[in-house]
């Protein structure tokens, strides 16, 4: 399984989205997982596609085509607003 985290405004849109997803089968990447969301969570998938959204795997920012493995923690990060 790959664990999914959604922060900031993405968290509000992801209330009904899965918190994990099977890692078998499709050679998963952040991009393919985003595409998978399109069918059942189109509003979320659209928000994830905004160019400022970053993805991290196991708390490190990665590219959207980073291969994912069983047990990975994938997080979707809208632009940060700390301080």
């Amino acid at each position: 399984m790959i664990n999914l985290l959604f922060f900031g405004r993405l968290g509000d849109l992801a209330k009904d989205a899965p918190t994990c997803i099977a890692s078998s089968g499709l050679d998963p990447t952040p991009l393919t997982i985003r595409q998978l969301m399109m069918a059942e969570h189109p509003e979320l998938a659209e928000a994830l596609s905004e160019p400022q959204v970053l993805v991290s795997v196991n708390k490190m920012v990665v590219k959207w085509d980073q291969p994912l493995f069983n047990g990975d923690e994938l997080a979707f990060l809208p632009p940060v607003t700390g301080g």
Partner: protein
């Protein structure tokens, strides 16, 4: 990051006096201590809405536990590589904050003032644009996630530029 440095993400408030005490007493090399405290203001101009201002009821700060601490420690390490600093403290609060509450503390102790000023400003500029915090504003009864500010992004670009060509 070495043992003289401190990075903390917490819901509790912090005490400037305590943090200053720690920084100024670390060793006798310290000749300069610069501190920055960020406070919640009671209005927030939203650039998207023609600079209208709203009365803030409260801010809710969310972060990515684990990742935030890693990023803050990385920023501190970068600052210490760039300037000769004795000690650094970064504290960021999370949870629900009201107007006038303290949000963020950055403190830098060094031998000379220029290093402390530059490093404190660098730490704040990076913290604003790199650390995984998100703010939800509750104002006039409505909730709204805040957008990143372009001026904050510009502030970081300046530091990257500085390291290539000093002007």
């Amino acid at each position: 990051m070495i043992v003289s440095d401190l990075v903390c993400v917490q819901s509790d408030d912090f005490s400037l006096a305590d943090e200053y005490q720690r920084l100024s007493n670390i060793n006798s090399r310290v000749g300069a201590v610069v501190t920055f405290c960020g406070l919640v203001r009671d209005f927030e101009s939203s650039a998207g809405e023609s600079e209208s201002t709203k009365v803030v009821n409260y801010l809710t700060l969310q972060h990515y536990p684990g990742m935030t601490e890693n990023l803050l420690e990385d920023i501190v390490t970068q600052a210490k590589a760039r300037w000769d600093l004795v000690a650094v403290t970064v504290i960021h609060r999370i949870g629900t904050l009201a107007p006038n509450d303290q949000i963020v503390f950055v403190g830098v102790a060094s031998e000379h003032r220029k290093e402390a000023f530059d490093a404190a400003q660098f730490l704040m500029d990076y913290l604003k644009t790199k650390a995984t915090f998100w703010k939800k504003l509750t104002a006039e009864g409505k909730e709204q996630w805040l957008d990143a500010k372009l001026s904050d992004t510009d502030a970081v670009v300046k530091w990257n530029k500085d390291s290539h060509d000093q002007c």
